[in-house]
Amino acid sequence: MIPLGEFREQLQALIPVLQLWPKCLSVHASLNGEALIGLAEHPTLAFYTYEFEIGYSQTYQEPRLIFKIWEATTEQGAELQRPCFPADLSRLMNVQDFSIGLDHLHEARKDSWFSVHACDTSHIVGSVKHHYLKRWASVYLSLFDPCFSNTYLFVDDV
């Protein structure tokens, strides 16, 4: 578990880490500073883009990862981005043992997102508070890119 105040502090330190991730297209803090919102390209499939949000779960007192998958299509010569809700995520993502559900309605945008269930986060990340969010990210963001944790080779002191 990570208290909300600690989470907020560590969230800012995560931005430069994500900027070093080669697949990251953009990342910024939300207006209220309580979440990071990012876009990342799929490691191998050019038509897919991930939109992700790292926020805080008041229920679990853990980081909360929600994401959407956008699929680029062309209609009458115009490129469109459409949300994509595949029934089997394992064909598109490195789902490993994560428990993921298409079950989240975004509080502000009122649209549907996948959520990575946070109920066993403390077992995965451990109890040490130092660099908690970076450790969390090294595990959970590998969902989008199996090589994500390589980013950390260069950012020990970020």
């Binding site: 679990y60 949300p83 809700f85 029934a87 079950d103 989240h104 649209d111 269930h117 109920c119 066993d120």
Partner: protein, 296 residues
């Protein structure tokens, strides 16, 4: 106590579902395609989609290839999010004061909830797409229970360590309306009063926009029980002022019942919590008539 729970479990809604004209074969001067039926308050409406679609399929323009994906119900043009218990949607979206429901429908002895069946390739954004049929609904419901369990116990292990047969029996008890089986498994999840961290509570509002809040509701403070009124006046002081000389501007409705605010959240959770592990409170703004009713 048992009697209240049994009545809540048996609570039902009368639905009248009209198929949107865009979906039907006949022209607009034909009679509307309507089906009427009753559903438990304690169920997800989406589980009735196969029942509805099997009955209306011959009248539809296109073949039904999926009973879930792309379908939704709406009320007065507002798409319903299926992911709340049917009774909670009714209480929060109709905003009807229980004390006034019978008089408002005096020409008809039944309260009937009028809904419209819609379909598009993609659901409205506020409706979670169902891409894996009923399994997705069951997994969504289990996820609600994991959250509720965590809020109650500080861990989800009571739910996560349920055996597969118990998990399926738990789900089947809802589909088969078997309250005894449901309660037997629920007992394995619920802590005692003294061990309860917080009560899983969701407060639903339809105005000024449809949303819900999850206040952290402890069960006791200084050895006294926390009352629902304490939680609501803390979260919504403009509607539930602490000052006893100022009237409340809203009522709390749970399972279609206007509940006294002096009841403890623990008692209400025991009696009126929903099949997803949460105590859902819908706030109903008081009209002038309702204020008179509640004062008399």
């Amino acid at each position: 106590m048992d009697n209240v729970r049994r009545r809540a479990w048996a609570g039902s809604l009368n639905l009248r579902v009209t198929v949107h004209p865009d979906l039907t074969l006949n022209s607009s001067n034909e009679p509307e395609h309507i089906i009427s039926f009753r559903v438990p308050r304690e169920i997800y409406l989406v589980l009735y989609f196969p029942y509805i679609l099997e009955r209306v399929a011959p009248e539809l323009r296109t073949n039904v290839t999926d009973f879930y994906n792309g379908w939704w119900l709406e009320m007065e043009g507002v798409p319903l999010s299926w992911n709340f218990p049917a009774g909670v949607l009714f209480d929060s979206l109709t905003g009807l004061d229980p004390a006034l429901r019978s008089s408002r429908h005096r020409h008809n002895s039944l309260n009937v909830w009028e809904l419209t069946l819609r379909h598009e390739d993609q659901c409205p954004t506020n409706v979670i797409p169902i891409v894996r049929g009923r399994d997705q609904v069951r997994e969504f419901w289990m996820h609600q229970w994991k959250q509720a369990c965590f809020i109650l116990n500080g861990a989800s292990k009571q739910v996560m360590s349920l055996s597969k047969p118990d998990t399926m029996k738990f789900w089947d008890s809802i589909l088969r309306r078997d309250q005894n089986s449901f309660d037997t498994i629920k007992e394995k999840i619920l802590p005692t009063f003294d061990n309860t961290r917080y009560v899983p509570l969701r407060v639903h509002l339809a105005l000024p926009q449809i949303r819900f809040l999850e206040p952290q509701a402890k069960v006791q403070h200084n050895n006294g029980h926390i009352r629902l009124g304490d939680v609501l006046s803390s979260e919504f002081p403009e509607w539930f002022p602490n000052d006893s000389s100022t009237p409340n501007l809203a009522k709390a409705v749970i399972q279609g019942i206007e509940v006294p605010l002096q009841l403890s959240v623990w008692y209400l959770y025991q009696e009126l919590s929903s099949f997803d592990g949460f105590l859902h409170v819908s706030l109903c703004l008081m009209t002038e008539d309702a204020s008179l009713t509640s004062r008399s």
